[in-house]
Symmetry: C2
Subunit: 501 residues, 2 copies
């Protein structure tokens, strides 16, 4: 009966530890004692043909969990999917093959594609701890990935996910190397490209650290959590879609790495490229336009950095068979007026509807990107053709049809609580800090509260007088409104206002 | 009343997450909603003048924690020390200064002492996440720390802790670069040096991944959890002591880094040296002998690696004013007969008591190390003098006096459950795997169960017959005995037995 000794019934801890599986066990439980498990031990749990490796948190009190069961975090529960009363079998995990490969990379060895594939496979099977993953991300950061390795990592990540197929003919895609609030060109670009008769099955992400992702903004106007079959129906009918990529598991490896990369926030062209291009390839696209906003508070901060990133993007795209157009754009200030899901949706709709107050910068950026896509598909004067499709109402018409196909259009609503933030002195606005203004929108509740965010009322170059509103904060509760306002008033550098000489 | 909004009463989660502070909050609590906290967000919690930065785990069910309180893991609770009913104030932490320094190191910059000191300070204040620490450890691994940086890191770690002072005259210390089961020379070396009239205030560690640390073995024979005042009294009376260093906070930075280094297990001479020498300097010693066992299953696996490590140890020790003697020793097999706290204590006592069955290898190793210490203190023929002190009973007498001064001697006891593991075939033993035999001892319960472990009954070079006992497993419960035995019988490579040609 030796085997029986290392079993415990599994219960649900109802604790969200993000994607990191955690198991909670009481210090007095027989499995901990027999196996010598302590806090943070990596523990293998098997149940019904599935297994997961989790980190152990040890319950020391007599409170919510006794020694007669083991409790799984949400991620561990999702990985094992036990039924009521199922027993888990506990053991020490074998050292994953990836561990020695990560070690080799740390020591400066070059890895090839099969080795990256092993690391990705072990990461996806939760065989690597967060520390292992942090070591991998660190070892690949800076200039530590060669172009060959970037290509190998991209392929390994691409092959770890599902790939979509769209038949003959060009399949378009676009991507923005983030960091610019309000830069919500995607719905407009998709509408124009689809109106031109092209195929653009666009998958987008939700915000992770920003006040809104394209999926968050689009969701204000139409459902985005479509499965592959529903997405395919929309694209077959309308040529394009704007859906949330998270449900499609196109690059599940990226979902795992990004959880580690975001908080560490190391600049790493190699990892950025592998992340972007593996997803584009998995989405089945073969022509991609990439927007790289450059500015002191954007993700890419100099023309030189943009040039280096572009060169490696091109080299990697060529290797995996993607046709690439890169647009290096102005990233010195937010785009449009709204920051936050509903506020950005309003800007998008104004551009599509050609209203007099439509934000010109958003419109022009979308036209340039759409023009590049049209040119990659055989048009000669892409931007001109894009402008015609927008101005004629064809893009608006196509966008509404896409929304209807995705489940029905909804008009974005204004937030119930609004308050202006005023200029503290006379002068000319010389800069807006992208990161700080994004922070205000997040404190106001974006993106969880879709109507929360920031409405810009003055832009760089504008002369303002003391007391004149610079922006409005929108919130769904008075508490969040006050909180965002306090932060905005305490930060003097959101808008730089200088006295003209 | 804005400030009030970000407060919640603090309760104790009674969950051990090792030294990593974790806060548990319900997804519906107003603080999570207002601040936009999600799972794994880094959260600053202030309470009564203290603060800690913890990782957030989000409670999603209606079980043990509702939205009206925040629960702290043991480490977070210990850092904040709230009283019953105290409110915690929650906010987003500022980015620690160390983050940009770690980033610089990742990108290949050389750091100097003040920069390492900032990293150590932020780590000790729990301002760095485990991911940050893993990135730092990774960036310093392999050959990534220069000798200058090793010296700088050593000094930064030393200055982050308390230092002991022992007045005039030489203060001795010893250290073994681990990995060799049963290599428990310290009690013997201390007894000999103290019997020679020298000062050797030895602090030792408990096992982290091994079946016993020196503190675990010593604790079988005498109390070891002495505070600085009690330790000083023992040393003043007897010249030496063998106490647990964990209570003295000599290198608290090391305690934090080691938690990350152990699971990653990257070879890093720089970090190893900083860890060892910062503690020796903080303990107030100025002459240190270091034992480096070399063998295929020891920590240091080749003579070349030992030579490189020795060179850098010497350079760093010279800079921080430590006199160093290095002994590169045979690390091909376990030392003595016993593996596990009580079993090793028995070996130590046999050597001190000069019984006929005393393990000769342990005796000789202790004499060499003690001899080196005596020579560093002015003796000419150190080993000869050490032999006299041991053979005359002076060392035994001094050891018993030290035990009495630490709180009283206790004779190690045998475990109640014992079972032999037999040779599977005739042949000659050509090797013992240090790691596997240590694993058996740990599965039997060592070091938590002091009497558990392994008693070796045959050594390399011995001819054995099928069925002859190779070793005995000792355990305190029949379950653990069976568990260790099953593992031992399944592993064919613990003892390599070859047919002689």
């Amino acid at each position: 009966m030796t085997r029986e000794r290392h079993c415990l019934p599994l219960v649900r801890a109802e604790i969200d530890t993000y994607s990191q599986p955690v198991v909670f066990m009481h210090q007095d439980c027989h499995v901990c004692r027999a196996e010598g498990f302590r806090a943070l031990t990596r523990v293998r749990i098997a149940c019904g043909g599935r297994s997961v490796i989790a980190s152990l948190n040890v319950v020391t009190g007599a409170g919510w969990l006794g020694p007669e069961a083991a409790a799984l975090s949400d991620a561990a529960w999702a990985a094992l999917r036990p039924r009521l009363g199922d027993m888990g079998q506990f053991s020490h995990p074998e050292l994953p093959e990836a561990a020695s490969l990560i070690r080799a990379k740390v020591y400066g060895e070059r890895l090839h594609q099969a080795q990256f594939a092993t690391i990705i496979k072990d990461a996806m099977a939760h065989r690597l701890s967060d520390l292992d993953l942090a070591a991998f991300v660190t070892a690949c950061a800076g200039e530590h990935l060669s172009t060959c390795e970037t290509i190998a990592l991209t392929r390994a990540m691409q092959e770890a996910g599902r790939s979509l197929e769209w038949g003959e003919g060009p399949v378009l895609d676009k991507h923005c190397v983030g960091g610019l609030p309000g830069n919500r060109t995607t719905p407009i670009v998709v509408a124009i490209a689809a109106a031109a008769g092209l195929v653009i099955p666009k998958t987008s992400s939700r915000a992770i650290t920003s006040p809104s992702g394209t999926a968050d903004t689009m969701e204000v106007m139409a459902p985005v959590a479509l499965d592959t079959a529903a997405m395919r129906k929309v694209v077959e009918a309308q040529g394009g879609c704007i859906v949330w990529g998270g449900a499609l598991r196109l690059s599940p490896a990226d979902d795992i790495l990004i959880r580690i990369e975001r908080p560490l926030d190391f600049d790493s062209d190699g990892q950025l490229i592998a992340s972007i291009l593996s997803k584009k390839a998995a989405a089945g696209s073969d022509r991609v336009v990439i927007d790289i906003p450059v500015g002191p508070t954007a993700k890419v901060r100099s023309e030189n950095a943009a040039e280096a990133l572009s060169a490696r993007l091109r080299a990697t795209a060529r290797e995996i068979g993607l046709d690439l157009a890169i647009h290096v754009s102005d990233g010195s200030q937010p785009v449009g007026y709204g920051i936050g899901p509903a506020l950005e949706a309003m800007d998008v709709l104004k551009v599509l509807r050609r209203t007099p107050d439509a934000p010109g910068d958003l419109r022009e950026r979308a036209l340039v990107l759409a023009g590049l896509l049209l040119e990659m598909s055989g048009e000669t004067a892409g931007v001109e053709r894009a402008r015609v499709l927008l101005d004629s109402g064809a893009a608006e018409h196509r966008f509404m049809a896409i929304c209807a196909a995705q489940g029905g259009f909804a008009e974005p609503a204004e937030a119930p609580y609004r308050i202006p933030v005023e200029a503290p002195r006379d002068g000319v606005i010389t800069a807006i800090d992208n990161r700080l203004i994004a922070r205000v929108a997040k404190l106001a509740g974006a993106p969880q509260q879709a109507r929360a965010g920031v409405l810009l009322m003055a832009r760089p170059g504008t002369l303002v007088q003391r007391g004149q509103p610079l922006f409005e904060i929108w919130a769904e509760t008075p508490g969040e409104l006050a909180y965002a306002r306090d932060f905005a008033n305490a930060q003097k550098e959101i808008f730089r206002i200088e006295v003209p000489k």
